[in-house]
C-alpha cells in the first residue's frame, strides 16, 4: 500500500515533542523550582486546556470564540461550589446567623441554600457538572448560532457579549455567587487540606496528568476524519455541505468540545489556586486566553501548552517588575501574532529549528547511504511535517 493512505496517531516528530514536554512537566520543572513556583506553573497549565480547545475550534475549525472564559469560569465555579459547601459545614460556620451555608450568603441575608447549590453537596455530581454544565451551555449557544448560520466575526462578537452578560449577572447576584469577590476561602477536598504545600505538589501532578489526557484526546480528534473535516470547513464550508455533511453539527461539536476542555482547566485552576471569581469570566480574560493559543501557535496542540506557560510567565514577571509594560506587551502580542508570526512559537520552531535540523539529518543520511539504492531513502524523506503544511495558508 502506498504512502498517502497511511494514518499514524503520532508522527515521529510529534512523538518526540510529546516526550520532551512530558519530561519537562513531570521531571525537570518539579525538580528545579520551589513549591510556590510549581503551584504557579500548575495555575498556568490550567489555562493550557482553554488554549487546546481554541486550537481545535479556532486554529482548525476557524471558529473564533472570544468567550472561552465563560466555560473556564463555569467549570471553575462548579468546583468551587463543592469546595465551598465542604468548607461551610455547620461547625465551621457556627458564628453565622444561619450556620451551614457559605459565608457570603449569610452576609447577604440568605437563610437557605439556593436550589441550584444543592447538587454540589456531592463530589460526584459536582465533577459531572464541571463538564456537563459548560458543555450544555456551549451546546445551546452553538445550536442557536450555527443552525442559523451565524459565524465568523458575528460569532466572535456574540461570544464576547455572552462573557460580558455572565460577568454582570455573577457580580450582580452577590448572595448566590459571592459577587465580585467570587467564591473564596476554599479549604478541603473530602477532608484533604488543599492548601498545604504537599497538596499543591500533588495537585500539580494531577493537573499535568490531565494535560496529557486532554492532549491525547485532542490528538485523537485531529487525526480522525473529523479533524480533516474541520480544516475543510474552515477553508471551503460550502463544499463540505455539498459533500453531504451537516456542517452545523460539526461546528456545534467542536465548540462544545472546546468548552468542556476549558471547563476542566477551570476546575483544576480552582483546586490549585483556592478560589474562583468573575475576573476569569469576562471579556478581557477571555480574549487573553486567545492570545495563549495564538502565541503558542494556533495549529499546534503542544504549542497551546507552551503558549499558556510563556504568556503567563511573561505576565507575572512583567506585572511584578514594570506593570505599565504588560498592556503594551499584550497589545503588541495581538498585533504580532496576526501580522508577523501567525503560527506562533511552534511556527517559529518549525521554520528555524525543526526544518533545518531535518534537512541536515536527511543530508547526512543521504551522504552515509551514498552508494545504496535510492528506494531505501524515499521512505524517511516523505515523512516529516504533514501538519505544518496546513499552517502555510
Amino acid at each position: 500500500m502506498s504512502n498517502y493512505s497511511k494514518q499514524k496517531f503520532l508522527s515521529p516528530a510529534e512523538l518526540g515533542g510529546f516526550i520532551v514536554l512530558a519530561i519537562l512537566l513531570f521531571v525537570v520543572l518539579p525538580l528545579s523550582v520551589d513549591d510556590f513556583r510549581l503551584n504557579l506553573i500548575g495555575k498556568y497549565l490550567s489555562y493550557s486546556f482553554v488554549a487546546m480547545g481554541l486550537v481545535l475550534c479556532w486554529g482548525y475549525g476557524g471558529i473564533l470564540s472570544l468567550g472561552q472564559g465563560v466555560f473556564f469560569g463555569i467549570g471553575g465555579y462548579c468546583m468551587a461550589m463543592f469546595l465551598k459547601l465542604e468548607a461551610s459545614s455547620v461547625e465551621n460556620t457556627a458564628i453565622q446567623s444561619t450556620p451551614g451555608i457559605p459565608d457570603f450568603m449569610d452576609w447577604n441575608q440568605l437563610t437557605e441554600l439556593p436550589w441550584f447549590w444543592e447538587p454540589f453537596n456531592s463530589l460526584g455530581l459536582s465533577l459531572i457538572a464541571v463538564i456537563l454544565v459548560p458543555g450544555l451551555f456551549a451546546f445551546l449557544i452553538g445550536l442557536a448560532m450555527f443552525k442559523r448560520r451565524v459565524g465568523g466575526v458575528y460569532f466572535a462578537i456574540i461570544t464576547q457579549a455572552v462573557a460580558a452578560i455572565l460577568t454582570i449577572l455573577i457580580v450582580g447576584s452577590q448572595g448566590m455567587t459571592g459577587g465580585i469577590n467570587g467564591i473564596t476561602d476554599l479549604r478541603t477536598l473530602l477532608g484533604w487540606d488543599i492548601r498545604t504545600d504537599e497538596a499543591k505538589v500533588i495537585l500539580y501532578f494531577v493537573c499535568v496528568t490531565f494535560v496529557f489526557i486532554c492532549l491525547f484526546l485532542c490528538q485523537f480528534v485531529l487525526r480522525s476524519k473529523l479533524g480533516r473535516l474541520l480544516v475543510a470547513v474552515r477553508d471551503t464550508e460550502e463544499r463540505v455541505r455539498f459533500s453531504g455533511y451537516n456542517v452545523d453539527n460539526f461546528k456545534i461539536f467542536i465548540f462544545t468540545f472546546a468548552a468542556m476542555l476549558s471547563a476542566i482547566g477551570g476546575a483544576l485552576f480552582t483546586l490549585q489556586v483556592g478560589f474562583m471569581s468573575p475576573s476569569f469570566v469576562g471579556i478581557v480574560p477571555s480574549i487573553e486566553m486567545v492570545i495563549f493559543c495564538a502565541v503558542g501557535g494556533r495549529l499546534s496542540l503542544l504549542g497551546a501548552v507552551y503558549g499558556a506557560l510563556a504568556v503567563n510567565f511573561a505576565k507575572t514577571t512583567l506585572s511584578e517588575a514594570i506593570p505599565e509594560l504588560w498592556l503594551f506587551a499584550l497589545g503588541g502580542m495581538f498585533i504580532a501574532v496576526v501580522s508577523i508570526f501567525p503560527n506562533g512559537l511552534m511556527g517559529l520552531y518549525n521554520t528555524y529549528i525543526s526544518a533545518p535540523v531535518n534537512r541536515f539529518y536527511h543530508a547526512a543520511v543521504r551522504f552515509i547511504n551514498k552508494d545504496k539504492p535510492v528506494e531505501t531513502l524515499s521512505e524517511p524523506l516523505s515523512e516529516p511535517e504533514s501538519e505544518s503544511t496546513l499552517g502555510a495558508k
Binding site: 498517502y4 493512505s5 480522525s224 475543510a232 477553508d235 460550502e238 455541505r241 455539498f242 455533511y245 456542517v247
Partner: protein, 247 residues
C-alpha cells in the same frame, strides 16, 4: 402529468433577489437516465437553477420534486443524501488537503459527527478511492496537495468527488470551462462514461460538446425556458436564433 416517470420535476420555480426575478416561473422535467443540457446567455439564470435544486438558494415559489421528495424543503446535506450531486462553476475542492483526502471526505460514509470520529480507512474506502482516481485521471496524484493541481485537474477532482458519492442525479456547471483542448476531449469521454447509469444535468457553452452528449437541450433566457427539445430542434428555433444572434 404524473411525477413517476421523471427523476426530477421542476414546476413553477421562481426566485427573486430584491424584486429581480433571476428564475421566473420555470418548469422542466428530467427523465431517468437522461442527459439534459441547459444553455443560455450569461446571466440567464442557469447557475441559479442548479443552486435552487441543490438547496444553496431557497426558492420564492414553486416545487422541485426529486423521486417524490420535495427538495425545496430540504437542507443541502439532506439533498446530497437523497442522491443529488453538484459540481460548481469554479472548481471547488479542499485545497489544503491531498487528493486522497479530498476523495476520502467525499466518500459517503461516516457523515455524522461521531461517524467521522470513528471513520476508518478500510479496504472498501481505499478501493473506491483508487477506482475513482483512475477514472478521473488522477491515480498518479493521490498524495499531492490539491492546490498544486492544474485548473483542469481540479475540475476532474471535483467530478471524482461527486462520483464517489454515487449520486443518481449529477449536476455539472460548465465542466470543461478553462480546459485545454486535450483535457476537453478527455473530459467528454469521462462524461459519456459516467453518465451511463444516472441522470445528468449539464450547463455548457461549447456547442460541439453539447451536440456530442445531449439527449435534450433546454434554452434558458431571462430566467424562463425559451425553447426545449433535441439539439437540432433548438438550433432551428427562431426565438433561440434571435437571442443568440439578434440585436
Amino acid at each position: 402529468m404524473s411525477n413517476k416517470d421523471f427523476v426530477l420535476s421542476v414546476e413553477g420555480l421562481t426566485v427573486s433577489f430584491d424584486g429581480f426575478k433571476a428564475v421566473d416561473d420555470l418548469s422542466f422535467y428530467v427523465e431517468e437516465g437522461e442527459i439534459r443540457v441547459i444553455i443560455g446567455p450569461n446571466g440567464a439564470g442557469k447557475t441559479t437553477v442548479l443552486d435552487l435544486i441543490c438547496g444553496r438558494t431557497k426558492s420564492t415559489e414553486g416545487s422541485i420534486k426529486f423521486r417524490g421528495k420535495d427538495l425545496s424543503k430540504m437542507t443541502e446535506h439532506e439533498i446530497v443524501h437523497a442522491g443529488v450531486g453538484r459540481k460548481f462553476q469554479n472548481p471547488s475542492v479542499y485545497e489544503d488537503l491531498t487528493v486522497f483526502e479530498n476523495f476520502e471526505l467525499s466518500f459517503p460514509r461516516g457523515r455524522s459527527v461521531f461517524g467521522a470520529l470513528g471513520f476508518q480507512r478500510d479496504a472498501e474506502v481505499l478501493k473506491a478511492i483508487e477506482e475513482t482516481a483512475e477514472m478521473v485521471f488522477l491515480q498518479e496524484h493521490l498524495g499531492m496537495q490539491a492546490d498544486l493541481l492544474s485548473h483542469g485537474q481540479k475540475q476532474w477532482l471535483e467530478i471524482g468527488m461527486l462520483l464517489i458519492q454515487q449520486p443518481s442525479l449529477l449536476m455539472l456547471d460548465e465542466p470543461v470551462a478553462g480546459m485545454s483542448v486535450a483535457e476537453r476531449k478527455k473530459t467528454a469521454e469521462l462524461l459519456l462514461k459516467i453518465t451511463k447509469d444516472r441522470s445528468v444535468i449539464v450547463i455548457e457553452h461549447d456547442m460541439n460538446f453539447v451536440a456530442d452528449i445531449a439527449d435534450r437541450v433546454t434554452v434558458l433566457h431571462q430566467g424562463k425556458v425559451l425553447s426545449e427539445g433535441s439539439m437540432d430542434h433548438v438550433q432551428k428555433d427562431p426565438k433561440v436564433i434571435e437571442v443568440y444572434l439578434g440585436h
